[in-house]
Symmetry: C2
Subunit: 214 residues, 2 copies
């Protein structure tokens, strides 16, 4: 049976791909079964409706996201890893973007997910705060009163909604370009607090990202 | 007939209030007619379905938002008016928040609104850029290469999604508190570029807003 993926996992993979591509509202369980060439009854044996699939997908997403977000809280990132870290967070969100795009509609139908989503967003704020604290301790950035906490909260909101914002303002760009622009916009929020040569640093970033699609 | 509001306008007012309070997905045209104590047929005479109501509400919102957003492009704001201006933008968005909360679902059902929403977001970026240019010209702030444009884009995204973010991370706070926190987070994004005494300025803001609910 080597290489054989379980039906349950295949349902989740197929649903995730369809939700992301076509929007969750456009996709029914019958569509998912159809694409997989299994009977709706077989799908129903694994999941009693679309909300059960969404909840199982959220379980996976939450687990991965918690792993990613707690890493820099448990052990400070090396400076050169911050950039990569922001890419990873955006990529996780992008892999699960249907959820963010249909957020209020899904939370109305799956009310159990609301407090879990709230906790995940708060963890995002804590992680941002921990990363900024490390940069501060290493004397790369300096914050005045209240500045670090305010920036951490803004970064968490930025990570949460940027892909959707770019999907609306630059609809012809692809996912990769949206992620690049999100990482750029993240770094540019931190540069103003760099203690030395902040303008050089900002110019370097602008230069680097102007060579990428965004 | 003095003081008598037309049925069409009353439908729009009632729908807006219900959509904002209960979420657009939860409210049907029959609900709206019920609250108004008119027949569904009378409502149907004015609007052929919920999407027609949403589009008429968007017409109103778009008109008001354009008026607000073009003001600082046509004539620079006085420094002391910037703060008030940010409040006004957040209040407009809050008055129409159901639309932002159900954005992707509404844009799927009302595809004509998508390009209009895109244009409105771009106008928001232009306005933010114009306001920052004025602050720069008056030598209150200084930007390095690429910094002003990046900040303008982030501010537009921030104005668009902040209320939703706070609705999720601070669900027990009221609308007024969400707006206060949004204005604070806006100002705190500009202070790092203040040329002189930026930390004093940030501390003043932190002080002022700590006295408000947020």
């Amino acid at each position: 049976m080597a290489g054989k993926v379980k039906t349950r996992d295949r349902i989740l993979e197929t649903a995730l791909a369809l939700f992301n591509e076509e929007g969750e509202a456009q996709v029914s369980t019958v569509d998912i079964a159809g694409v997989m060439e299994i009977s709706p009854g077989n799908l129903y044996y694994h999941f009693r409706g679309k909300e059960a699939i969404i909840e199982a997908l959220f379980d996976n997403f939450e687990e991965e996201m918690r792993l990613v977000l707690t890493a820099p809280i448990n052990r400070p990132l090396a400076i050169e890893d911050n950039w990569v870290f922001v890419y990873i967070v955006f990529e996780e969100i992008n892999d699960f973007r249907f959820f963010y795009y249909a957020l209020s509609s899904i939370l109305e139908r799956c009310p159990d997910l609301r407090p879990r989503m709230t906790r995940l967003l708060k963890l995002k704020q804590e992680t941002a705060n921990a990363v900024l604290k490390t940069l501060e301790k290493e004397k790369l950035v300096a914050f005045g009163k209240g500045e670090r906490e305010a920036l951490a909260m803004r970064l968490a909101a930025h990570l949460t909604f940027w892909l959707q914002y770019r999907g609306l303002t630059a609809p012809s760009n692809d996912e990769r370009a949206h992620i690049n622009s999100g990482v750029y916009a993240t770094m540019m929020q931190i540069t103003p607090y760099v203690r030395e040569n902040r303008e050089t640093y900002a110019a370097m970033l602008a230069e680097y990202f102007s060579s990428l699609d965004k």
